[in-house]
Amino acid sequence: MQYITNPLFGVFLSLIVFLIGQWLFKKSKGFFLFQPLFVAMVLGIAILIILAKCFDVTTATVYAKAYKPGGDIIFWFITPATIAFAVPLYKRNDVVKKNWLVILLGLVFGTLFSMVLITLVAKAVGLDAVGIKSMLSQSATTAVAMPLTKAIGGNASVTAMACILNAVVIYALGKQLVKWFNLNSDPLGTGLGLGAAGHTIGSAFALEMGSIQGATAAVAVVATALVDNLLVPVFAHVIGL
């Protein structure tokens, strides 16, 4: 076990599973289930489960002792990378200045309608009250969503999982979703939607689609953090959870 508690193990494992994902994605000519991030996640978890069996400890222990030290090093870079979205945002300042009212209204009401629909879906599949509460703040980034969930009485680690899966879903299905719902005809809304649904990953995805989409997605990441802080507690109170 001592061989894998070095932080280099986590860095090494992350790189190798992601590279395998990229290779599979290229070989399969872009099959959506072979999105590098999704492959990396499934393979990485599988490897940790196998290691746990080998060392006869729980998977959570292997994760915390062996993977997390290295994983945290990579994870840390998300912070400067998120800050870097200020650059594409600044480059399309014209769009933001011209459309600030549409952006604001779209995000506030978009978040509100989404919360209503999410609650309905969650009730339909039979999630309990704690589960539903953990689903409400998904449009915010993990660092905002987790304390919010805790404040309204949900399970913060379920929310964290949801925020991660949001990114994976956008990464894997983004292209198809944009096509199916004919989103690309309106770059402003597409950018905001991608930022709200996929957070930082959604913004990177939006930036690949175009500079307007990328800029508005960055706005969405910032603004949903504030909008959710204000809306989620009120909404949870109103629907009486």
């Binding site: 992350s14 991030l37 990396a40 996640m41 978890i45 940790l48 994760y63 993977y67 994983g71 870079f77 998300i78 990378a81 800050i83 870097a84 200020a86 650059v87 480059k91 009212l101 779209g106 995000l107 009401f109 978009g110 978040t111 309608f113 989404s114 999410i118 879906v121 969650a122 589960g131 689903m135 998904q138 449009s139 980034t141 905002v144 304390p147 399970n155 964290a160 999982m161 949801a162 991660i164 899966l165 949001n166 990114a167 990464y171 979703l177 309106d186 402003l188 809304g189 905001l192 939607g193 991608l194 709200a196 649904a197 996929g198 930082t200 990953i201 990177a204 990441v221 953090a225 802080n229």
Partner: protein
């Protein structure tokens, strides 16, 4: 967009700017009240945006390092994905329902936000267009 012949700043200078903004953002984030958490990256994004808008920082001082960071974002989320290994217990009990709701929520957030925005931009363009017609009636007529 203007096309200028500009040299990007050396990579260490760019790193320094990001590090400085991160440091200040961290301090501001710590000062926010517990009931209204705003994470460091969000404050940092706003901070860099404001500094760029007021031309305190030039875009070529932060552009190439920023693009490099953004291009690696898919990889940076690998540890978050693998961190689910620590929560396998929740997945065993309510996993299927949770995954269904999360996938549905992602699609809902994307589509509903996009279409709500489209609706408001339609409304606002209607309102401003009708005002423009009143004010610029002559101009519109001239074009025709």
């Amino acid at each position: 967009m203007k096309k200028e012949k500009t040299k990007s700043a050396p990579i260490l200078v760019q790193m320094f700017i990001y590090a400085a903004i991160l440091f200040v953002a961290q301090i501001i984030s710590d000062l926010m009240p517990k009931s209204f958490p705003v994470p460091t990256p969000v404050i940092g994004l706003v901070l860099l945006y404001v500094l760029l808008t007021f031309h305190v920082i030039k875009v070529e001082w932060v552009d190439s390092f920023g693009s490099a960071l953004i291009s690696l974002i898919g990889f940076m989320f690998v540890p978050s994905g693998i961190s689910l290994a620590a929560n396998l217990k929740i997945m065993q009990t309510q996993g299927l329902q949770l995954i269904i709701v999360v996938i549905a929520s992602t699609i809902i957030l994307l589509v509903v936000t996009a279409y709500t925005t489209r609706f408001f931009s339609w409304v606002i363009s209607k309102v401003t267009n009708s005002q423009l017609h009143v004010v610029d009636h002559k101009k519109v007529g001239d074009v025709k």
